[in-house]
Symmetry: C2
């Protein structure tokens, strides 16, 4: 048995991800460089990657090359066992290519669920690798017609595992799933049972630690033995306030463990800025900012602004999204703002309001006539 | 040095290939099953696969799984070294994934050309793996602006190899290229120099044997030391009369060798049939045939035939292509046949002729009126 075992748990790398049309590959490369350094420093007994290595079943070739390079550094150069599963974004079949060869150097890559539930054994600890699988696949694989939901599927899989599991050994599950609820919160349990996608935390009770991927926040679940590591990077502005990290687990031979988070820092952060245009364009403000971060900017200004995105991009080159805070508009402007939804206003009239608001110049008869022709010819083409 | 070395040379597997809309995967699976048996029987010192393992850069998952399975059987189960390169149909980057791990069990997969021209050494024989590369890639890689054609590129690559090549050892090149001409045929040499795609055979003179892929016929090139193995299967009707095989090479320690072809037989052949419809539908004829082969049928009949493809498919379920031999039509019919090309005939008139020919029933006014409406409404939608 082990004296103490150190694991690093990560997930949701999403290599090849596009955020607002921008490839995150260079950010991923940087963060994975830091990850490889962390592994070199920490010398863990294994690295666990809980699914969504790629962002899609056919990732761009740069992503394929990056994954190959990083896994090679971890597994072959640093000689660290790597245990990885496919997530819902990966192609189980494509990711599986070569996995029989990888095993020889303790790179265990489980792309596709099979009926072989033999654990990977490292220093007396059992690791059960459960790739993401649709309930229908599990139903067919196990020949169990009662499987309909993800919870049914995971219960059945863990049922199979329990046939051979020795509860006196340390058992760890690596999975990619939507797990909800701690043991005691009824409200979450209801949710878990209700939705076909989510799995109640209780299902994982046979394991000393469950290393999950799927939800992108390390705080997505608060549970003593089940944990999301969180994604490698912030992959949407809804994640802008999350702290991304990987999890370091130190296990003793009773299966008790301590957890530590290690932050990884991309060159460019993804974050939100809110303010008035003049304020954001004021050197006194932006000189305090990392201006090349990926930004979602929300402008508080009311009324017309001339080319705000052009002006902002001169200072903040990576503005990915610009919004106006409509709540702040007064009633009259709000009405104009939403008037697009009303059918009775003609396109020409809408354009005129827009033009006048944006330019503060008169919408002359000549302009009106030109615009009318354009709108008509566009409509003809569309209809 | 070796006493005698046995190699099996194959190429152009094109896994994931569609022929006339039909996936060849099951035929490929069968032929590769025979190939694995052949390797088991022959116990070669290495298997050489000279490119186009897949038919496209993103092959279907069944093709990925089949390639994985076959390579595993050859390399891990039978413990035979495998030397493979990517062809123009493969994605160099995608195919390269995992190749650093594969090397450990003597599976040498070179997806992407690099400046490392160190040969793979097996029992004292040097194997140079040159994946298919566009001239522009080689130009950039070698920093040689004079590279414009495939011949330039291959000459430059072989120039690099010659810097370290020991001509007293046995040297073998594995390549995927369009190579033309023996040493003596001037006409072919002109061709080779003229076309930017083709490479003159002389370029490969430093090698005792050059194992090529790209052209699908084992007879594509007649040369004492350069050889195409030919593709795994017939992949178009233009290959219908080719005999497909893999090449077994037995080398002695002077680099002299003998060659043997081993045929692989798919369950369904791809072949052409020509005849009159009645003849082809006559049991006396088709009972002598393997009727479920993939067929291109050329009908010799003149004039109208009612649903010939429907009738033929009842006997020959895998007719992939049906043709009429237009040369046999008399002048009047030929005129009708080609009349589609003339603009002055209206669609309605063309349809009438077609209808009368196919049905031998009159094209009534009512039918004409219906057809006219249909044609008009189609034209309106299209324009």
């Amino acid at each position: 048995m082990i004296d103490i075992m150190k694991l690093i748990h990560t997930a949701d790398w999403h290599l090849g991800k596009l955020v607002h049309g921008i490839y995150m590959t260079e950010q991923q490369r940087e963060v994975l460089r830091q990850f490889v350094q962390l592994v070199e420093r920490e010398q863990p007994d294994a690295v666990l990657i809980a699914g969504d290595l790629y962002d899609r079943s056919v990732p761009p070739t740069e992503a394929v090359e990056l994954l190959n390079e990083v896994l090679y550094q971890l597994n072959v150069e640093l000689k660290v066992p790597v245990l990885a599963i496919s997530g819902n974004h990966d192609s189980a079949e494509r990711l599986s290519f070569g996995s029989s060869w990888f095993r020889r150097s303790q790179f265990y890559l489980k792309g596709k669920l099979t009926t072989d539930f033999t654990p990977v054994r490292i220093e007396g600890v059992n690791f059960y690798l459960i790739p993401y699988s649709e309930p229908g696949i599990v139903r067919e694989l196990l020949g169990d017609d009662s499987i309909h939901t993800h919870e049914d599927a995971m219960k059945a899989i863990i049922g199979e595992i329990e046939k051979q599991l020795n509860p006196n050994e340390i058992n760890i599950l690596i999975g990619h799933a939507f797990v909800l609820g701690g043991k005691t919160t009824d409200s979450e349990r209801t949710l878990a049972v209700g939705g076909s996608g989510c799995i109640s935390a209780d299902v994982f009770s046979p394991f000393h630690y469950t290393a999950l991927g799927h939800l992108h926040s390390p705080n997505a679940l608060s549970h003593p033995t089940i944990r999301y590591s969180g994604s490698l990077l912030k992959y949407s502005f809804s994640e802008a306030n999350q702290k991304k990290s990987v999890t370091i687990i130190e296990l003793d031979d009773n299966g008790q463990f301590e957890i530590r988070e290690e932050k990884l820092t991309p060159k460019l952060d993804l974050r939100e800025l809110e303010g008035y245009l003049d304020e954001l364009l004021d050197p006194a403000f932006y000189q305090q900012q990392k201006t090349d971060d990926y930004l979602k900017i929300t402008l508080l200004d009311e009324g017309a602004l001339i080319d705000p995105i052009g002006k902002l991009r001169k200072v903040y080159p990576n503005v990915l999204h610009l919004e106006r805070k409509v709540d702040f508009l007064d009633e009259r402007r709000k009405e104009q703002y939403f008037i697009m939804k009303e059918k009775e206003v003609s396109e020409l009239e809408l354009f005129q309001r827009f033009y006048e608001q944006m330019t503060t110049r008169p919408f002359t008869d000549e302009k009106r006539s030109i615009m009318k022709t354009i709108i008509e010819s566009v409509k003809k083409e569309v209809l």
